[in-house]
């Protein structure tokens, strides 16, 4: 296994200006992605997981959004120092995204093949005919039956699952090195979700594409990812290899989340564990650790000072932003 780091995000900060004040949607987020691996970013709504990934591609609308600090290093080069022109080449060609809602992401009045071919013509300068042939090949690859005929359909003639597959075909058209999937299956039924996840898994295996999987579903993470970052209120609270996260969670939020989901592989009946309260409003994040008002293990320090990311067991890729892991508070 080569452990080549393909993407590195360092100290990313993104804010939005609103009528009520500044929202720190992403607050000092760092992570790295290795070639051919799948990184999961889990969090609830408002945790900043989607904004993080939009920031990577500089897709934040200004105003109201603004990336205020940080670096995104893609294959050794800082993306934020590149011109808009250069970033546009990276987008789509080297890093592609798929979004949650395939219907609003596709243009309703343009034929399906043409939308897939667009990126090919743009980034590879393919001719129309050639691009159409490649588009049909891609439709076949993602398992659309009668691809030749369906290529001439419009998006509304496709079902939700098929539209999401078209989005994947578009994202893969230029053989990207990184695929960012933002809740790609949230709008889909489970049996269709299984098809889509299988498709992404196979494609990333065959072409050793790196994947960033943004989701709120811990089941999807367990199925797809090699490592995980857990986000809460704009910060990464825990990062770990997949097994460590599920079998040995170190942050009280991760633990609470894992305990509170009902699971089909466990008998029902008993009460579920709950995390009290609701995720904070990002306009007034509580002082100190953002999770502290909901945390069962909150200590004095937690409401005073925001915890740094503590390294667990000397493994730099295993961190938890929780004071419980500071030497002076850790009595276990």
């Amino acid at each position: 296994m080569n452990n080549e780091t393909i993407l590195q995000v360092q100290g990313l900060m993104t804010e939005f200006r609103t009528e009520r004040g500044i929202v720190n949607a992403v607050n000092d987020v760092s992570f790295s992605l290795e070639r051919g691996k799948t990184l999961g970013i889990v969090g609830e709504s408002g945790s900043g997981k989607s904004v993080t990934n939009l920031s990577i591609l500089k897709l934040i609308q200004y105003p109201p959004g603004r990336i205020t600090a940080g670096q995104v290093i893609f294959k050794g080069e800082n993306m934020f120092e590149r011109s808009e022109e250069e970033i546009r080449t990276v987008r789509g060609k080297h890093i592609s995204m798929i979004f949650q809602d395939p219907l609003t992401s596709l243009n309703p009045v343009i034929k399906v093949w043409y939308q897939i071919a667009e990126a090919l013509r743009l980034h590879h300068g393919m001719r129309k005919k050639e691009a159409k042939a490649k588009s049909i090949d891609l439709l076949k690859l993602i398992g659309i039956p009668d691809a030749e005929q369906r290529a001439d359909n419009y998006p509304h003639q496709f079902s939700g699952g098929m539209r999401q597959r078209v989005m994947i075909a578009m994202a893969l058209s230029c053989d990207p090195e990184i695929l960012i999937a933002d809740e790609p299956t949230t709008a889909l039924d489970v049996t269709i979700q299984a098809q889509i996840l299988e498709l992404i898994k196979n494609l990333s295996r065959e072409k050793s594409t790196s994947v960033i999987m943004i989701t709120h579903d811990l089941g999807v993470v367990a199925d797809m990812c090699d490592s995980v970052c857990v986000m809460y209120a704009g910060r990464i609270v825990e990062r770990a290899a997949i097994d460590d996260l599920f079998y040995d969670p170190q942050h009280p939020y991760t633990r609470g989340l894992l305990d509170s989901i009902p699971r089909i592989d466990r008998a029902g009946g008993s009460r579920l564990h709950t995390i009290s309260g609701a995720p904070p409003n990002l306009i007034d994040i509580p002082p100190g650790c953002p999770f502290q008002p909901r945390c069962e293990k909150a200590m004095n320090i937690c409401s005073k000072q925001s915890p740094p990311e503590f390294i667990i067991n000397g493994d730099a890729s295993r961190t938890a932003a929780c004071w419980l892991h500071a030497k002076e508070y850790n009595n276990g």
């Binding site: 609103t18 009528e19 009520r20 409003n281």
Partner: protein, 278 residues
């Protein structure tokens, strides 16, 4: 919540100020006018505006004071515009919300009638109605009101249809609420935003329609002054004495502008997408 937002919106405030100004003019005109608006003076025909004579806006072809006539005409114009809008809005909204809420055959029936009315240009329709009803001030109100009915029916039907798929309507039904209750308690209050905007825009169009009708001699009948019939009579002497046309025209333009500004401002204020929800 809406009121302070109104005052933060510059466009709406400008419109409101203009309208309030005209309302003040009406109040003043009840107690005091520079001259008697219907008193003719053969000594002072078509006199240019001047401070010394006291005719600030000049006089018309009968020597009547134009300023006094404009002030008097404000009442006519505003009363017609408000009454016609009220008439059109109340019938139109009732038709529209029932059509939208009941759907099916009712909707089809009511809206086809509205379509027929809608297919005529506003002014043409108003002229038809005036021709049938006869020329007097009350009939101007009715004519403009009829022009407005399909417009209000359309808008209220649309917003009711958009709202009725909300689950809170089902919730109310499952709680034993009747149709009328749901319509007036749940649906209408939530559909007021576009209707309020339409009302303010209708007020301005009514001024124009009234002026147009009066200009064509179908509206307010002389010697009763209205901005429209002032313009109409100015037509013959406009080249000689432009002030006879300029001042009533300015009055129309500014009041219409006032209502339009208020309407545009309200549209921004009431747009839920611009309102910050947590």
């Amino acid at each position: 919540m809406t009121v302070p937002r109104l005052f933060k919106n510059g466009i709406a405030v400008t419109g409101l100020v203009i309208i309030v100004l005209y309302v003040l003019i009406i109040i003043v005109s009840f107690f005091w006018l520079p001259f008697d608006p219907s008193e003719m003076n053969s000594q002072r025909l078509l006199e240019a505006p001047s401070f010394t004579s006291g005719h600030l806006f000049g006089t018309d072809e009968f020597g009547r004071d134009i300023l006094s006539r404009i002030m008097k005409g404000t009442t006519v114009s505003l009363v017609i515009s408000i009454a016609a809008t009220a008439l059109g809005a109340s019938f139109g909204i009732l038709m529209g919300i029932w059509a939208g809420y009941l759907g099916g055959r009712w909707d089809n029936g009511i809206m086809r009638i509205a379509d027929v009315l809608f297919s005529f240009p506003s002014l043409l329709l108003a002229i038809f109605v005036m021709a049938i009803l006869g020329e007097n001030t009350y009939n101007v109100i009715i004519a403009i009101g009829i022009v407005y009915i399909p417009q209000f029916a359309r808008i209220s039907r649309g917003s009711i249809i958009a709202l009725k798929s909300n689950e809170f309507v089902r919730a109310a039904r499952s709680n034993g609420a009747g149709r009328t209750y749901i319509l007036f308690r749940h649906l209408l209050p939530n559909s007021m935003a576009p209707i309020i905007v339409q009302i303010s825009l209708s007020l301005s169009v009514a001024i124009l329609l009234e002026s147009a009708l009066s200009f064509l001699g179908l509206g307010v009948q002389p010697p009763e002054p209205s901005w429209g019939n002032m313009l109409s009579s100015a037509r013959k002497v406009m080249m000689l004495a432009p002030w006879t046309a300029i001042y009533p025209g300015l009055a129309i333009v500014t009041l219409v502008l006032g209502f339009n500004l208020l309407g545009d401002g309200l549209r921004d204020i009431l747009d839920p997408r611009l309102r910050n929800v947590r």
